[in-house]
Point group: D2
Chain length 488, copies 4
């Protein structure tokens, strides 16, 4: 008898790529997709996918894992716990952070994070480099070398006391990114407005979690967006704006892209599924839904969905920030802290994919290809992961087989990360990832996890022009811009 | 020896789908694509595609072929000549027109055009139904039946004396389209402005072809766009705006889509490659480049490319309108007519694909996937051709194998349609379609055409919601709109 | 004893000009204002204005009076009744219409209206010339001669079956206006949308007055605004858009003015004080509030006030259209007609000034100077009435003395025009015109009217560039526009 | 013989108020205008103004005079030299600065500046309070007391190393202004962009004055405008944006005003009359035209004129900053400093009025009333000077009599301030101020100056709502804004 033609054949699935859906088979050889078609030859392993949906494995391009900062808050997760939770939800790649704080040596930071990830991760991983201390050494030595070593994206904060950069520093960082061809990602909120509002609120006794929302007025987002858009224009440098929360913010991004600027954007499930009322609970309970920027209004949710539909945003990431709802996490500051002392962020690696499958596919908002686009192919292009994010011959065999009929009510007991809670508890989703394949290995089968810690692999990303350029420099937009760019 | 696994295997091509490019093989069985992969099994016929690029066959969704109108101008082409020219340029499907004029019976019109196409076409075809006489019978009987019979799109003119519809008529037509789920396409220019300008120009002796451009002021396009966008909003009816020519027009479309309106758009090579100066030649020569709207300015070309880049436009069509440059076509009105009497339109089926391959791929403007998107997958989605426009298992095996290095200078001698001239004469393109496959048949090989007249097939298109909805009705945009839609 | 220095001195008033308010005296000699100051010398007549406010007499630049049309609807008013009602409300000048219908000789129309006004008017008057039949004779002979004779503004309709102009006709008319330096005023609504909506509504049994509002969707206003703005751009011709009703419409005007286009605008009290709910009454009662465009939403009211505040609109006129609520007017079509057969329009000459005084001054929205600007100086500049509209030496002594404390509840019994009803019945205003002076004659004193029919005078208006140009031709906006303008 | 009725009568002038022009007489009694009219009674002094134009005295609301800062640059002017130059150009009121630097006691600063002005000024004066060190004492004690004492406007810098405020500080300052009803004026440029550009330029050897322009990219202005507009929105606080230089900046202001925000704006002659090429001269010569932001492009000049026309800007001020072109001023840093070390600013008090008279009136751009609006009545309203800025009974008799035919070529020899140069040298203007009256005193007659140092008077300005409110808080714009405002 002939040797099997493929290691695995997933047969008779509804195969969803970022542009097409068809019934057929997918053959996997080694770590790669070998063929797609009808009536493919035999596989060493055959998976009957009749009635199932096959999508690319999810890519979550925004996650805080195993934060190493000496002082301040600690995340609950290890690389193992975080990536196990991701894998169980159908995510096979993650772009996490290597986070420099002030005074830290960036090269050492990356080495430390890399060691932890290499040891613990069950899915493939990469890092955005957070630069909080842009010294001469960081900018001229470490950063170029790290970009050359495959770290093709940088993150900067425009708010948060200890990590935010001043405008000059941000420009310095963007100049290095431009020279090396790296993407710059930003947390864009106006620090002054937030600090001023929060101080006034607390002085007047408004300390509950719900005031977190008031402390982040809508204009604090739009102001920072307008600022970073102009910095991008000045240097002709691609920028991804993280976690867009407002309608006006989405409009700024749409306008900038229409002008040919290299602006990209992400939103997160928490902005699509929550509104600001979620914070308004008795006592400290609301802390579970504290993240920055905060959830907004129904009109904003509609605007964010539309921005995804129109392609103004390229990805939906989790912004996974795992703080347990106890004294090790959200309640670290004591039982009744004011809202400023509560850690910002929610866990999200695990349920991003099912939540979006339910909203986009099962509820019929967009269809499967758009689901693939925002969870996998979009982030793959945005962050230079050419082997990831779609179903095509030669790509990594990162695949998720979904039962599109299965209904699951999310609850804390299902949580696999170390926060042990989910902000989405109580929501029922239709569609569930049953089998997850990472580079040809079946790592999740039903409830069982079959991946060893450390089996995930570092994704070396080549810098260079971003994969989906929005535009060229438009000289008429700003004559001085050309000159600005020549200063780089 | 085992039977071949496929009828054809195209091996070792650079395969370009609308989202991915990879080196590999494509297997064809019968009329369909059967598999895509690496090391596919043997085909009855093997095509070595090393160093070649394989794309989907082109879909040209805007072509005037074999115009039947009793009086007035006649096109030069037969269905055979037009579709042979298309096939030689890598286009395997065409959406042409069945054109009602006033007093004509729409059902008979469609029957007549269908008979000609069935007899002569060498590629697959469908029709947009031009409605110029929206009588009760047309609207209530013929049109619904024709849409049910697979004609899922309608075209209306907002200008041209004998065919244009008044606003009420246009709304009547859109109301039928909405009820049946058909797309409405429009030639959107303000008739009054053009007629007024032309009359004044001719009265003053400005009769040369170059005044055609002056007679179509930019605002005549933008005015009509604003009008049709609001009609679309009023009825919640999808509309495709044909042949966008101006930067301001593109901006109106972008704005409308951002508001969630169901507006789609096309541009044509003549707007991407020409500016208005092209008309300014001695004597009547400029008539070769007379089309409506006219070519504009360099800033408009930039805006049109950007609109394609951003997805504001979904397709580039030829608007093929074959008038020979002699007394049977452009010069019918006599040797020195005023510009109003010269037939509007240029031939374009043949060179649309090579021109765009050169500009988008060879010259590096966008890359292969975007080329596929605007020439094939875009129009397939926009006009409900689910079996066409991409490379995926199960789709029709409409394929083009390109020599990406071959340079060809376009000239009249190459022209296969009956106009015997091309407005692009003198331009040199890099990249040439060498082999063209239509539903599994190799119909072009080098210079040889191997398809019989009548071998093209009618593409029955299911009406229903357009394949790429831009948005839902946004109640806050216009409260009365909901009510308007309920009147349908 | 010395002769009195002035014929009248109004002493110790709070004098309000369009830019300043001060306590002082105003001296009148003959028909003119002779001096403004403190402690002016003696007048033959002294009016003690302590505690009173003195403003310029109102100019109402939009009123239908004594409509002469053979068939169709008839207004209730004579020139005497209409202008008496105006005078009693503090209005001393009116720009009414000389309305050509199809087949009418424009010169004769103007002669007829002029004769009636000369005989009956108690206030000064002028005409906008309504052109509904732009024949060669009308355009080339009558219109230029009439403009030369002091009729410096023309009105055109974009809707209404028997009077509306097609786009070409409108351009022809605007071309004459431009050559002669006349203003063009338009009723800008999309006829097709309205006709289509109304027909569908009535077919489905929606015949009550409230469906009048649904039949005029918001986009029917904005569409027509976008169209006329582009025609204005094409010909570089000043245009005043009448009775703006929507927020989006106001935004179009603001945008156009920002681009340097010569667009001016008016709104009316019915849009500032009513919303669409006003139409929703049992039976035919709602007919009292039927006017076109209809009243809109609270958000629109806010936008209209802001447009006045920002100077985007230059005037508030009444659009006085006097149809009695009986079988001679609103109910002419029978007791239960569908809404299409009910005459459109409301009486408004009498209460425009007190309503605006109350809203703008007594309720503190803007202050006295803005009240003067929108009721008097604004229309004076817009329509070339250089002797009218403000309080300055040499201007006509058209003055109103207000009791700013007096409260009056508007009711039908107060009505002086022949409709015998007011749509504002039940509203209480603070501030009332007690004494009205027209060219130095006291024509209203308390309840008494002292002006003879025919004592009003025709205001010959010089054509020429509009008094408050918004901008110059901006070449970059539209290169073809220059050419378009040269065709004039 | 009877006593004269007035102290002065200016007879038979073309009197220009901010809204009207008429031939007539103006009577002055004491410090005030007593009457305006025809044939006024006799004055003790009669001035024959036949053929002359009479306007209000100019108000220059932006001037740096007698800067007291210990370190750093020194202005050339004393209060006497500066105000003499102003008076000779037809300016009778000035709003200068009392400039706190870091570490200075604001109350003392104001006392010091007040003493100098009281001693030297020949025209009336007020102060904007520059706050560079917003300590608790400054904000809670000094500032409220100073506002109560008649200093109703505050200025803040968003750029310049030693004086700029961080966003939180700016909000603190605006909160005090809002509580007290004071206007906040800002120099709005993005500090980080400018510092970054300048540093890079100088590092690469680009040190000449012309690089000053490159160092201030257009986006550095628009970024800061977007930021301050949102701060204004957050706190519902009126803000005047100083010296607008770009088309995009003007568009931001127009947009904000259209949204109902309380944004006001100024531009200066240097932006209306110069473009960036002015800096490009051999050696250090260009330093004479170095000011911030720099001069821009012709398209910007057009946009600034249009913003004045449309009322988006309320005033044209000089931004008088008197640095002599020698080692005491512009060249203080040495013969070949890099552009960062050259003092920014140009002298302008003297020629602002003639330059604008020539451009607006003699060259026919707008007419006299608009000239009065932007030079006198506009700043009077904006900064709460109710007795100033127009010609009306009761207002201060600040008057300028112009010879509208006189042509003067500006040159350094005419300069009366201590810089001894004018950037406008070589320009010829038509229209010259011949007689200047300040509160009833003739202080300039031809070449003769008749005012004693110290005869100018402090203008105590009442805080309170700004005189020309653009809008009310629009709740839908930003729900959180209301909350923000309640924190004040």
């Amino acid at each position: 008898m002939a040797a099997p033609a493929y290691d695995i054949v997933i047969r008779n699935a509804l195969v969803a790529t970022s542009t097409a859906c068809f019934e057929g088979d997918v053959g996997v050889s080694g770590e790669r997709i070998a063929a797609i078609g009808h009536g493919l030859a035999q596989g060493a392993r055959e998976i009957d996918a009749t009635g199932k949906v096959l999508t690319p494995g999810g890519i979550d391009a925004h996650a805080h894992i195993a934060q190493l900062s000496g002082g301040g808050l600690l995340n609950a997760d290890t690389w193992e716990s975080a990536t196990v939770s991701a894998a169980c939800g159908g995510t096979t790649s993650v772009v996490a952070f290597a986070a420099q704080h002030q005074g830290m040596d960036l090269a050492q930071v990356v080495a430390d994070y890399s060691a932890l990830a290499a040891e613990g991760s069950v899915i493939d991983y990469a890092f955005h480099l957070i630069v909080a201390d842009p010294t001469e050494k960081t900018l001229k030595e470490h950063l170029p070398a790290l970009i050359d070593a495959g770290h093709a994206s940088i993150k900067a904060f425009m708010t948060y006391d200890k990590v935010r950069l001043r405008d000059e520093q941000l420009l310095d960082l963007m100049a290095v990114a431009r020279e090396k061809g790296a993407m710059v990602c930003v947390h864009a909120e106006n620090h002054g407005m937030i600090a001023w509002m929060a101080k006034r609120l607390v002085e007047r006794g408004y300390v509950d979690p719900k005031y977190h929302s008031i402390a982040h007025p809508r204009v604090s987002e739009t102001e920072a967006f307008e600022r970073i858009v102009r910095m991008s224009a000045l240097l002709d440098q691609p920028v991804t704006i993280f976690h867009v929360s407002t309608k006006e913010g989405a409009a700024i991004i749409r306008r900038a892209r229409g002008e040919g600027l290299k602006i990209f954007a992400e939103t997160c499930p928490q902005y699509l599924f929550f509104t600001k009322e979620i914070l308004d609970r008795p006592g400290i309970e609301g802390a579970k839904w504290m993240f920055s920027p905060p959830a907004r209004e129904p009109k904003d949710q509609e605007a964010l969905w539309r921005a995804l539909e129109l392609g103004d945003f390229q990805t939906v990431s989790s912004d996974h920030a795992p703080y347990a709802f106890d004294e090790t996490g959200k309640l670290m500051a004591g039982p009744n802290p004011d809202f400023r002392q509560i850690a910002n962020g929610v866990p999200g690696l695990q349920f991003r994919m099912p939540l979006l499958f339910d909203a986009m596919v099962s509820k019929g908002r967009f269809g499967l290809s758009k689901f693939v686009a925002v969870t996998a192919s979009g982030p793959a292009r945005l962050y230079n992961l050419p082997n990831k994010g779609d179903i095509a011959p030669g790509l990594d065999a990162d695949l998720v087989l979904w039962d599109p009929k299965r209904q699951v009510t999310l609850e804390d007991a299902l949580v696999r990360d170390k926060t042990r809670y989910t902000p989405y508890a109580g929501m029922t989703v239709t569609g569930w990832p049953e089998t997850v394949i990472r580079r040809g290995d079946v790592i999740v089968e039903g409830e069982a996890l079959r991946a060893a810690p450390g089996s995930g692999r570092f994704m070396r990303r080549k810098a260079g022009s971003c994969a989906e350029p929005t535009g060229r420099l438009e000289a008429e937009l700003d004559p001085a811009r050309n000159f600005g760019a020549t200063l780089l």
